[in-house]
């Protein structure tokens, strides 16, 4: 017990330190400008956006666990709804902090809060993110306060609808960019929704495994089996969506050079896509989940960690690779200029970007660790009854 108490404070201090390092990076970027980041006028969104978008998408997806419980009435999932909601709030907080602090003028956050351009999907997202935050807090309240229990179903339904709209909004950020080859596809919002299912559930699995270990409990194998199968289905679903996105692109003649760049010739991008996303982030987890003799706690934990890793790889390829490919301003012409026209843009992320990204993860970690310690988020399973 003494050891655990000690470990808790050490973990908290470590999380706090990483978050502080993120704030230090923000201070440096504020002082010197974004010149100290690896971002430039060709790659305007970099590593911080990879972290932020992963956290926000996973924050929406992790609520799937809650929805299956509250909306579809599955008892096993209902017992996990409070933990899922907590993770959602924590990751949303971490992701939004990174997104906000990466702005050129984070001090003008009041300007963003008070001037709304209703044609901007970014402005919609300000509403969607803050609404999600409040809704999930209310949802948690209806679960944890006995007198509020009657409103739980309604709150669960509201969260269910809201998070679909929210992830649609995140996908639309890119879907509305008609000018760029990598984006501007109506497939992106549904693709982000399915990706959110896989990433959110993977994060949930990791946290759940740690909490069970910490409390020296073992997860009922029947429950583990159901949840790992669900993860497998989500991973397959997301792989299908990503494949469809690339296949449709390859079908359009004017998109082929972009696809060849991302999937074959683009150096780090095809490598990260095939090895990072497809092999490590999909095939290996699927094997760990579905191969006979696999699928035990440790395999599911490894599979979940790999799905998360694959998510980061995919977002790196999608966000940075998508910007690195030159804008086709004059199709059919060879183009050159002093501003990188017709050339593959280069990007070398700086330490400050990573500090900011990990700072966001640390914020999510600290919120989760403290909350799990002071409130009861441990899933309380009834003796197992098949739904």
């Amino acid at each position: 017990m003494y050891f655990k108490n000690h470990l808790y404070w050490v973990l908290l201090a470590a999380g706090g330190l990483v978050a502080l390092a993120g704030l230090y990076a923000v201070h440096m970027m504020e002082h010197y400008g974004h010149i100290i980041s690896g971002m430039n006028n060709q790659i305007v969104w970099g590593i911080p956006h990879v972290f932020a978008i992963f956290l926000i998408v996973a924050a929406s997806g992790v609520l799937n666990v809650a929805s299956i419980g509250s909306v579809f009435g599955k008892a096993v999932y209902k017992a996990r709804a409070p933990l899922a909601s907590l993770l959602s709030i924590a990751m949303l907080a971490g992701g939004l902090t990174v997104l906000m602090l990466d702005l050129g003028r984070p001090d003008r956050i009041m300007v963003a809060a008070t001037n709304f351009n209703f044609t901007s999907v970014f402005a919609w997202n300000v509403v969607l993110y803050s609404g999600m935050f409040s809704l999930v807090v209310v949802y948690l309240w209806t679960m944890m306060e006995r007198r509020m229990n009657p409103y739980n179903k309604a709150a669960g339904l509201a969260v269910f609808v809201w998070r679909f709209v929210l992830t649609t909004g995140t996908g639309l950020i890119f879907a509305f960019l008609t000018a760029r080859q990598a984006y501007g596809s109506a497939l992106l919002p549904p693709m982000f929704i399915v990706l959110s299912f896989a990433w959110g559930l993977a994060v949930f699995h990791v946290v759940q495994t740690v909490i069970y270990n910490w409390n020296e409990k073992t997860l009922d194998p029947a429950i583990l089996n159901r949840k790992k199968n669900l993860l497998g289905v989500f991973v397959l679903g997301s792989l299908y969506m990503v494949a469809t996105y690339h296949f449709t692109n390859m079908y359009f003649a004017h998109q082929q050079s972009f696809e060849l760049f991302i999937l074959r010739d683009g150096g780090i991008y095809p490598n990260l896509f095939w090895w990072g996303y497809v092999v490590l982030g999909n095939l290996l987890p699927l094997a760990l989940i579905f191969m006979p003799g696999r699928g035990k706690t440790r395999c599911v934990m490894t599979a979940s960690l790999l799905v998360i890793l694959g998510g980061f790889a995919l977002l790196y390829v999608f966000i940075i690779g998508g910007q690195a490919f030159p804008l086709s301003i004059f199709p059919g012409y060879e183009v050159s200029s002093s501003f990188g026209d017709g050339q593959i843009a280069t990007y070398q992320p700086s330490i400050y970007e990573f500090l900011l990204g990990f700072g966001g993860l640390a914020i999510a970690f600290v919120i989760t660790t403290v909350s799990v310690r002071v409130l009861n988020f441990m899933p309380q399973d009834k003796p197992y009854i098949a739904d």
Partner: protein, 238 residues
């Protein structure tokens, strides 16, 4: 009863007089500070016609003039701002080569304005697309949305700015069509500097203007016309 009413009436009169005396000089100063109160007119649409047949490879005079006018460093690192750049293009099928200046195309339906969360990106009534430096939060979504790569983000602190052209670290900027010169009745710096008169500036809406007449008589192109943005900058000979 009457006495009391009179006292109140006098009090009100005196207070209103005092208020008028207090406010009037302020109002007067406000007017002086803001100069002409009339804004840009929507009857005008400023634009340019670039004659690529007159634009010479290797000539950079428009770029130099723009940098000087707007206080840009002229650096060409990926983190430096470039409001106007020369692009060399070569037709892959027949080898024909052209050189042309590329800058903000001052679209009628600018994607940068659509995506800006805070309305910092805006289009003036006379068609000039600008960034309000006091509202821009530096999210760079407009850079992602611009089909012409016309925008730059200020990556470093700035010194020695031109007072007519405010800029700021952490905000996005692009060609203003030299709005400060237009408001004084002058042409944009690039148009004035071009030795071959390849950049013709004028009001697209005025049927008698040189640019409108030329647009009627020669074949011109809008870059990425398929996006339907109706650009204010047109190209001839492309």
């Amino acid at each position: 009863m009457n006495d009391i009413d009179l006292t109140r009436r006098n009090f009100l009169k005196t207070s209103m007089g005092a208020a008028a005396v207090a406010v009037a000089p302020g109002m007067l100063l406000f007017q002086v500070a803001h100069g002409k109160s009339e804004g840009a007119s929507s009857k005008v649409r400023w634009g340019m016609l670039v004659d690529t047949t007159q634009c010479k490879t290797g000539c950079n005079d428009c770029v130099t003039a723009c940098n000087k006018e707007n206080g840009l460093s002229g650096g060409t690192l990926p983190t430096d701002s470039q409001w106007i750049r020369k692009i060399e293009i070569k037709d892959i099928s027949n080898g024909r080569e052209l050189s042309l200046p590329m800058m903000c195309q001052h679209c009628e339906h600018p994607p940068c304005v659509d995506v800006c969360p805070t309305n910092a990106s805006m289009k003036r009534a006379d068609g000039i697309v600008l960034v309000d430096k006091h509202r821009c939060i530096g999210c760079r979504y407009c850079i992602m949305a611009c089909p012409y790569k016309a925008r730059s983000f200020v990556h470093e602190p700035l010194t020695d700015q031109n007072p007519d052209v405010p800029r700021g670290k952490g905000t996005v900027e692009s060609c203003t069509l030299c709005v400060h010169r237009i408001d004084q009745g002058l042409k944009p710096a690039c148009s004035e500097a071009c030795p071959n008169k390849a950049i013709l500036f004028g009001d697209l809406n005025d049927a008698n203007s040189e640019i409108a007449q030329k647009l009627r008589s020669v074949a011109t192109t809008q870059v990425r016309a398929e996006l339907g943005l109706n650009t204010g900058i047109r190209y001839q000979g492309l």
